[in-house]
């Protein structure tokens, strides 16, 4: 081993020198470039929640000419280190993608007054910290209405990644929507315990179907893909979450609750760039056109006309503000 050690040190040093050289070449400022970063809680290749944030980041790059960067973080310690690292490197705006990032944002913010920290979800506000609160509940409420109107067994199953307030809130709204149609409607919730284990999510979904659930609703990011597999196998309907997932399994995904994260990201980035940022909770729902309820055109024919009318009426009432969808307070 001994004789290889100096070589390893040399290789390691060379790598560090190369890294420093490239990064300093990147940040040659001509004026002061607008730099935006994203911390995602899971892989951005999940075709859902994290993918949307990444698309938002790219939209900021393309529309505002910003320099962008993204890393994947898993633990609270990594959240804080990620925030700190980007702020130290002069990023003016850093997104922490989810409810779980707010404590880290609040902890780091006082040290970096020149950086704005945005968490997608949450309620923590500081001078340079603000959450964007996506009202996905408005759309999952409609999914509940649809499920209760069409279910034969009077029971729907929910598969969540982890029991965090933002996920619980979408489930609460789903249940409220279902109960508005049928007060006896049952919603059973199962958690996988992480956001990646597709196999476990499928097993959880199959167990729910076995208990008589004929509609499946997931809010489990990448793991949620396993729910669609279970729905296909056992011929029940499923709902897509965050992104339009109607095309993932077009024969079973009857509708998706979607968030236009890119639009919201660009808006907030524009405010930060122009100096017009305020530390307050930003709420984006159906009225703002950020949250939508998208039916799968391939399965629309299976929805009875009166159910469709009811969905349209409910949707209009939510958008007009006359119907307030219940959400968990957080």
């Amino acid at each position: 081993m001994k004789c290889r050690f100096p070589f390893a040190v040399a290789a390691f040093s060379a790598a560090i020198v190369a890294l420093v050289a490239t990064s300093s070449a990147d940040s040659q400022p001509a004026g002061k470039p607008f730099k935006v970063a994203l911390l995602s809680p899971g892989p951005v290749s999940d075709a859902g929640w994290n993918a949307l944030a990444y698309e938002g980041l790219l939209a900021i790059r393309d529309q505002l000419g910003a320099e962008v960067s993204q890393i994947q973080t898993k633990t609270p310690a990594e959240f804080e280190e990620g925030f700190r690292d980007f702020a130290r490197r002069g990023y003016q705006l850093v997104f922490g993608h989810g409810f779980e990032f707010q404590d880290a944002a609040a902890a780091v913010a006082p040290d970096f007054p020149g950086t704005v920290f945005i968490t997608t979800s949450g309620n923590t506000v500081r001078k340079n910290v603000a959450p964007i609160r996506f009202l996905l509940e408005e759309s999952t409420y409609l999914e509940g209405v649809l499920a209760a109107s069409m279910s034969k067994g009077g029971k729907a199953g929910v598969i969540g990644g982890m029991e965090i307030p933002s996920v619980k809130s979408t489930i609460l709204a789903f249940e409220a929507g279902a109960k508005s149609i049928n007060p006896d409607f049952k919603v059973v919730t199962t958690y996988v315990g992480n956001w990646e284990d597709v196999g476990a999510a499928k097993a959880a979904a199959l167990a729910l179907v076995q208990q008589g659930c004929d509609f499946l609703f997931h809010n489990a990011d990448a793991a949620g893909l396993g729910v669609f597999q279970a729905a296909q196998q056992s011929h029940v309907f499923a709902f897509g979450s965050n992104k339009n997932q109607n095309g993932v399994a077009p024969e079973v995904v009857i509708a998706s609750a979607t968030i236009d994260i890119p639009q919201a990201f660009v808006q907030i980035a524009r405010a930060v760039q122009g100096g017009g940022f305020e530390g307050k909770v930003v709420r984006k729902g159906m009225k703002e056109g950020v949250v939508s309820f998208v039916l799968n055109p391939q399965l629309e024919a299976k929805i009875p006309a009166d159910v469709k009318t009811r969905l349209d009426q409910t949707k209009a009432a939510i958008a007009a503000g006359s119907l307030r969808v219940p959400t968990a307070e957080f």
Binding site: T190, G193, A207, A223
Partner: protein, 306 residues
């Protein structure tokens, strides 16, 4: 409990157990040869990835399985080069391989399907129901599996026979107990360990293939979700015996299936306790009977020091 519920429980038990069984058997072989392969998780994940990609593009699940095994073996070969060939630290190299697999599968997946992913779906392995037997209530679930599922169970007596009833098996176990003595007897120690590692890589790759192509029928970054580490524990709990690995895999699979079914009942039990169930149950059951079996004596020791 109704028959349907029991059938569903058994089905989930088997599908959750098979990847653990395959990976656990692989780890068993390599540990019997004196090497701890911490890189099992990475081999499982790269097997899942390679199997999925091959199946997605060719629509031939069997080719997917071959590619999955090859990917696992490739990583195992790398492990063998550094650990067996150069005498590197087994734990460090294994950990490095796990990190490599997470990174490499992620980069390759994004390079092929775009950064924001594609939500792949494949048809996967066909089921091969055994006539008559698959019609039985409850236990019929045992006889309605893809070929890879049957193969996993068939490997248990095969590996048991190979390890304890053949000359090659004796040589392999000698290497795991005392490589110097084995070498003095004319056993090719490095060759044996390398061969065991390659077999382990193939089995871990097969486990990943089962997970991705036979069960989930999709690929998600990090989808192995710690199964490789659980398989490592299963080998210890199974006391380095193929039948022990089978029993422990089934026990763990059953506890996993059970906890999802209990969650689905909608009882007011915090879900964290139910998610803990497989781990706790496995611990309790196996702590219950203290055996005399011990780990191979030279397990984890570099050859130079053995």
């Amino acid at each position: 409990m109704s028959v349907d519920l029991l059938t569903s429980l058994l089905q989930t038990t088997i599908t959750m157990a098979v990847p653990l069984l395959l990976a656990g058997l692989g780890e068993l072989v390599v540990e019997r040869a004196g090497v701890v392969n911490i890189g099992l998780e990475g081999m499982l994940l790269s097997g899942a990835f390679a199997a999925m990609i091959a199946t997605f593009f060719t629509h031939i699940p069997l080719l997917g399985l071959v590619c999955g095994c090859a990917a696992g073996a490739l990583l195992a070969g790398l492990f063998a080069c550094v650990v067996v060939g150069l005498g590197g630290n087994q734990v460090v190299v294994g950990t490095a391989l796990n990190l490599l697999a997470i990174g490499a599968t992620g980069v390759a997946y994004r390079a092929i399907f775009g950064v924001t992913g594609a939500a792949l779906t494949v048809d996967g392995f066909a089921l091969w129901p055994v006539p008559l037997l698959s019609q039985l209530p409850v236990v019929g679930a045992l006889f309605d599996q893809p070929l890879l599922g049957y193969a996993a169970f068939a490997l248990v007596p095969l590996i048991s026979f190979g390890l304890f009833r053949t000359l090659a098996g004796v040589k392999l176990r000698m290497v795991g107990e005392n490589p110097r003595a084995a070498a003095a007897q004319g056993v090719a120690v490095r060759f044996t360990q390398t061969a065991a590692l390659l077999a382990c890589g193939m089995l871990a790759g097969a486990a990943g293939s089962y997970l991705a192509v036979a069960y989930a029928k999709t690929f998600v970054e990090g989808m192995s979700a710690g199964r490789g580490f659980i398989a490592l524990a299963i080998v210890i709990f199974g006391r380095w015996s193929p039948w022990g690995v089978l029993a422990t895999s089934l026990l763990f699979g059953m506890a996993t299936a059970l906890q999802f079914h209990v969650q689905a009942l909608g009882l007011a039990i915090p879900y964290q306790f139910l998610l803990m169930l497989p781990y706790v149950l496995t611990l309790i059951v196996l702590a219950g009977y203290a055996g005399t079996t011990r780990a191979p004596a030279a397990l984890g020791t570099p050859l130079d020091e053995a």
